[in-house]
């Protein structure tokens, strides 16, 4: 690090020692310590990629692209096709997003545009409580309370109503299980709502007041103002927030492991049991060895890569849109 710029403001003035450019040892040491701590982030990220990839080469090289994306998962016969898990991860995350995004954006608008500021704070606390409830508690509640209830009082009625109808029947028809893609989707939606809400709120809060006043001055109602002034400003940033929520939903493990039903199937029936990548890792890892373990770690690598890409994109979008507005 360039010691010249660092030394200047910290110059030792007035002491008996001459005005040298040398800095005391402690000062230097502290800077190095701080730098090392910062670099740790990069080191860990690189190490995650390297060490997990290393432990899964067995699977990647043996199964090949075709094997990895096959639906055949049978540890007994050494077949490790991850398709059913990838499918389950995508389906549950998409359900979560479809449910969570409208709710989160609506709450974010409520907090920024409707509710007076002194009320906004307690509402934020309440939403944050959702994020503090541990994932395993959502899972526990999901499997012992929510799943049985929703199966008997919602799914079974819908399923019998839509059975036989072309598109709806193949999505919501039987078989019906409490632990299913859809139940997992709902629980994931609840879990990602706080982060999507808070990021959307951050983005929406950067809409300049004069833009809003411009709409109001034309006689717009609040909703018309939101559509005309807030939305054009925020849509990119909200897309970023949604992507971050998607990343969270894809990686969420324990709640999904408990409520998804743990059966490696690819089906369009959303009320049927399924599986997801993190869930299968959590459930099967303790008993796995050899190529089986390599396959599970390999799925971790896929998950890592996926979430990193989604997060990079999302953070980039959010950062760019908030900075552009602040700068404007």
């Amino acid at each position: 690090m360039s010691s010249v710029t660092q030394a200047d403001p910290a110059k030792q003035a007035g002491s008996a020692s001459p005005l040298t450019r040398r800095r005391p040892l402690g000062d230097r040491g502290f800077q190095i310590l701080a730098l090392a701590s910062g670099l740790l982030v990069l080191v860990i990220l690189v190490l995650i990629a390297v060490s997990t990839t290393q432990q899964s080469t067995d699977w990647f090289s043996k199964a090949g692209v075709k094997g990895i994306f096959s639906t055949d998962w049978d540890p007994a016969t050494n077949h490790f096709g991850a398709m059913a898990f990838v499918y389950g991860t995508v389906i549950t995350s998409v359900i979560a997003i479809i449910i969570a995004v409208p709710v989160s954006v609506a709450v974010a608008l409520l907090l920024t545009e409707v509710v007076p500021r002194r009320w906004a704070r307690p509402i934020v606390y309440l939403i944050d409580l959702l994020a503090v409830v541990p994932s395993v508690v959502w899972g526990l509640w999901g499997i012992l309370v929510f799943a049985p209830w929703i199966q008997s009082s919602v799914y079974s009625h819908i399923a019998s109503a839509v059975n036989g109808i072309p598109l709806l029947g193949s999505l919501f028809g039987p078989p019906v299980s409490g632990a299913s893609f859809f139940t997992a989707g709902i629980i994931l939606a609840v879990m990602i709502t706080p982060i999507v809400t808070s990021l959307s709120r951050e983005v929406i809060a950067t809409v300049p007041v004069i833009d809003k006043e411009g709409a109001y001055a034309l006689g717009a109602t609040r909703w018309e103002m939101i559509r005309g002034a807030v939305w054009p400003h925020s849509q990119n940033g909200v897309v970023g927030a949604v992507l971050l929520g998607l990343g969270r939903a894809m990686g969420e493990t324990i709640a999904a492991a408990l409520v998804i039903g743990s059966s490696a199937t690819v089906t369009s029936r959303l009320f049927a049991t399924g599986y997801s990548m993190p869930a299968v890792i959590a459930n099967q890892f303790p008993e796995a060895a050899g190529e089986w373990r390599a396959a599970l770690i390999g799925m971790g690598v896929l998950l890592f890569a996926l979430t990193i890409i989604v997060n990079l994109a999302a953070r980039g979008i959010v950062e760019r849109s908030t900075r552009r507005m602040r700068g404007a």
């Binding site: 660092q6 403001p9 910290a10 110059k11 000062d27 040491g29 502290f30 800077q31 310590l33 701080a34 701590s37 910062g38 740790l40 982030v41 990069l42 860990i44 990220l45 995650i48 060490s51 997990t52 290393q54 432990q55 409208p102 709710v103 989160s104 609506a106 608008l109 409520l110 309440l126 409580l129 409830v133 541990p134 994932s135 395993v136 508690v137 526990l140 509640w141 929510f146 609840v190 018309e224 939101i226 971050l244 990686g251 969420e252 493990t253 324990i254 993190p278 890792i281 959590a282 303790p286 599970l296 770690i297 971790g300 998950l303 890592f304 979430t307 990193i308 989604v310 997060n311 953070r315």
Partner: protein, 298 residues
Amino acid sequence: MMAVATEQPAADLREPAGWRRTKNRVATVLMWVAFVCTLVPLGFVLVTVIAKGASAISWQFLTKGPIPPNVLPVTIGGMGPAVVGTLEITGFAALIAIPLGVLGAVYINEYGGNRALARLIGFMADVMTGVPSIVMGLFIFTIWVLHFGYSGLAGSFALGCLMLPVVIRSSYEMLRLVPDSLREASYAVGATKARVTVTVVLPAAIGGIVSGALLAIARAAGETAPLLFTILVVESTNTNLFSGPNTALATQIFINAQQPFTGAQQRAWGAALTLIAIAFILMLAARIVTARFTRYTR
């Protein structure tokens, strides 16, 4: 002046056409409905956990164990080892992650300036918060457990990796709020940068930093996935953090939830209540610290 009013027809300034007003009202109502939608699951979870968990909680329940899953009543014990494990593992994780996280934030804000490296680290810390917790577990498994075996320490490392970026982000936000005039005042009397940071900047931001760290601990205490492959869940108490398998409340709930026995499930509820209580107490503490010790706010 009332002549003005009689001279010309009065302007109609009532609410605009019905459908515009209706749309606006519907939109507002839907926003409130969305808010209620988020409260419903929260309310249900809390009520269920309290209703089912409260009957399990007793001094023995929190200190004694293990009890076979089919043995009732649950109040005779069960979560002792898990409580010890959670405190050990989360505590040590905090001990590693918080100083490193704060130092990392110090680098980004105090030394980084506008340097690309500092911005990269800040950005990647944000990205790192998005790494799934199970991947952190796999990471520590491959890099530590494979070589040194299962231990509470490995669990602490995994939780520490999850906490690190969170602490960096929250500390950075707090350091940014410390006004430059404070730093300059300290430089003006001849202090070195390290001294300014330690004696002036960090104390000025300490409220926010502590509160952010408490929230990070609250989140970490509830994590399950990173512990599954690092501590290898066992039933008995292990007070030695550094060697031998361990256990924790969160993992215990995960195991118990999958068992068919009433005893196991009831203990899971009791453990869930304990875990939520710990998380909420930490969150509350964070709020109190924020309210009482935060000097600079956005």
